[in-house]
């Protein structure tokens, strides 16, 4: 069966809330029913049919074509299936997702993968600030699943992360892994200042160093740990670059000693 395809007619006049477009919500619906779903965010009601051309198909595989940065909350709360986005997306892509695959062939806005619980998100372009992070008022960020960003990420990637794995192949902004509670953040490219700022537990791997390291991280020496080899095997299918990075002995910095200090930053030693 062919996938269900939504093609954007033109750049929408307002931001759209795409959260009703999920495999389990569209399953069994006709083209007409799908076209009637409201996605507007202003007082003027906007339906999917107003802005998209709908081609029905297997709702377990949704394709969104011609997407743009005004499409917020794509894959919000997704539980299973697959969403493939051809183009950029707005904020909160994949927020609160518990399962399935979300693939974005473009850039993502802020709070992509916010409070992700399970499943897999791949962003082939860049991601905005607070990748995986919580919205104001939430106690914890990402708590499961896997996020791969091929491009750069904004500041505070992995903010308040609690569990799960984030791999960033490009550059990362300032305060990557800020306030981390636990989890694994692999940053293959160079990062901005103060990675791991106020992190309590968790693991940050820096492939190309940071603009400035916090003095509250303490050098524990260079080690070749089995845990990192297992991590390398785990990420190998998704990111050969991250896997290569983890197969060498790495310098371990413990921190952030300004708080609990049970986190760690692994630094690839310069050769």
């Amino acid at each position: 069966m062919k996938p269900l395809v939504l093609t954007l007619n033109a750049r929408p006049a307002e931001r759209l809330d795409m959260s009703p477009v999920l495999p389990h919500l569209l399953a069994g619906k006709t083209a007409r029913e799908i076209a009637r779903i409201g996605v507007g965010t202003t007082r003027r009601p906007v339906t999917l049919g107003d802005v998209f051309r709908v081609r029905v198909g297997d709702a377990q595989r949704i394709r969104i074509e011609g997407a743009g940065d005004r499409l917020d909350r794509i894959g919000y709360g997704m539980t299973g299936g697959e969403i493939l986005v051809d183009g950029d997306v707005g904020s909160e892509a994949g927020r609160l997702m518990t399962g399935g695959h979300l693939t974005i062939k473009g850039d993502a806005g802020p709070w992509a993968a916010s409070v992700l619980r399970g499943g897999r998100i791949e962003i082939s372009g860049a991601a905005g600030e607070r990748l995986g992070g919580p919205l104001p008022g939430e106690m914890a960020g990402m708590r499961g699943g896997m996020v791969i960003v091929r491009g750069d990420v904004g500041p505070r990637a992995g903010d308040r992360m609690r569990r799960g794995t984030i791999v960033v192949e490009g550059r990362a902004g300032a305060w990557a892994g800020s306030r981390m509670i636990a989890g694994t953040l692999i940053l293959a490219g160079p990062t901005g200042p103060l990675p791991g700022y106020l992190m309590r537990r968790g693991t940050i791997v820096l492939g190309s160093g940071a603009a400035q390291l916090s003095p509250t991280f303490i050098d524990c020496g260079t080690h070749d740990l089995i845990a990192l080899r297992l991590l390398a095997a785990f990420v190998a299918d998704d990111s050969a670059r991250a896997a290569r990075l983890l197969q060498r002995p790495l310098r371990r910095l413990a921190g952030d000693m300004a708080v609990l200090g049970k986190g760690e930053i692994f630094l690839a030693s310069r050769t």
Partner: protein, 302 residues
């Protein structure tokens, strides 16, 4: 007892009576096969019989670097006990004293399954607050800082309630030398069968036992019917030409595995023949009323 003769070896028309057990498996790895083996041997030591050791344990097989989770050489160990509680106690005690302490070791689940036993979850407190939990790829690991770096241990391992313990073969030969040769051939053959262990020293038990004794406090005593030196004194099961008997005890994760192991053992004895090996093969049972699993030798012939 009517005997069947294959290649000159007499095979008793009898059966081995085996019992249901709880079992688990784990994979121990180290920087070299030598140290993986060392950790496994230490951990499975004093694990010959549930009567006195709390569990029966042994090495199932050695694993190459490609077969282990972390790409280092390893060993798969099986542990059998009569209850889940005892198995958990033995597992935690043995891994903490024998694997955690072994240089460069790491420890993983060797068995899948819904029901789990605590592995790293029972050991993590050794880290005194510095232990690190890591979850990825659907697995949960504990990293415990130790003197040579880190001990990595999977949080749980699988438990099976359909394991079988007490599969056995009684190997009867003309002399101690030929009987041992036959027993060694059996151990080598069964070593290639997956999911089974032979918990006794080198896989061989020379002090096969019967249930009960003339002394009230002794639960198991020597199997006098098979002791060659008592041939004339007791109601012996031995023929005039048998001068030595050795027993192989087999525990397996499934009844099929135990059956396959016994068949492999019988085939090895038959192949060796009566001159260089055993004259006769028997098996131990309690009349068939105690154990649910009966392995008839005649069904296992090569």
């Amino acid at each position: 007892m009517r005997a069947l003769i294959v290649n000159g070896v007499r095979i008793d028309d009898t059966f081995a009576e085996a019992f249901g057990m709880r079992a688990t498996a784990l994979i121990i790895t180290a920087d070299s096969a030598r140290w993986a083996r060392q950790a496994a041997i230490t951990m499975t030591g004093f694990g010959t019989s549930v009567i006195g050791c709390g569990c029966e344990a042994g090495i199932d097989r050695e694993l190459t670097a490609k077969q282990t989770p972390d790409g280092r050489p390893g060993v798969r160990v099986l542990l059998f006990a009569v209850s889940t509680g005892e198995l958990q106690k033995q597992l935690a005690g043995r891994v903490s004293q024998c694997v955690l302490t072994s240089p460069g070791s790491a420890c993983y689940a060797g068995l899948d399954g819904e029901e789990r036993l605590k592995l790293g979850n029972a050991l993590r407190y050794f880290g005194d607050g510095w232990q690190i939990s890591k979850r990825f790829g659907g697995k949960h690991y504990w990293r415990i800082p130790v003197l040579d770096g880190e001990f990595l241990c999977e949080a749980t391992t699988g438990l099976t309630k359909s394991a079988v313990g007490g599969g056995n073969l009684l190997i009867m030969g003309e002399s101690a030398r030929t009987t041992l040769a036959a027993a060694e051939a059996v151990v080598k053959a069964i070593g290639r069968v997956p999911d089974v262990v032979m918990p006794f020293p080198g896989g061989i038990a020379r002090s096969g036992s019967k249930v009960g004794s003339k002394y009230k406090t002794v639960r198991a005593s020597t199997n006098d019917a098979y002791c060659p030196t008592l041939k004339g004194a007791v109601k012996s099961a031995l023929d005039a030409d048998v001068g030595s008997v050795l027993e192989i005890v087999i525990d397996g994760l499934t009844a099929e595995a135990v059956g396959a192991a016994m068949a492999a053992g019988i085939a090895a004895i038959v192949k060796l023949g009566p001159k260089r090996g055993a004259l006769r093969i028997g098996a131990g049972n309690y009349g068939g009323k105690l154990g649910p699993h009966h392995f008839h030798l005649k069904d296992l012939l090569p």
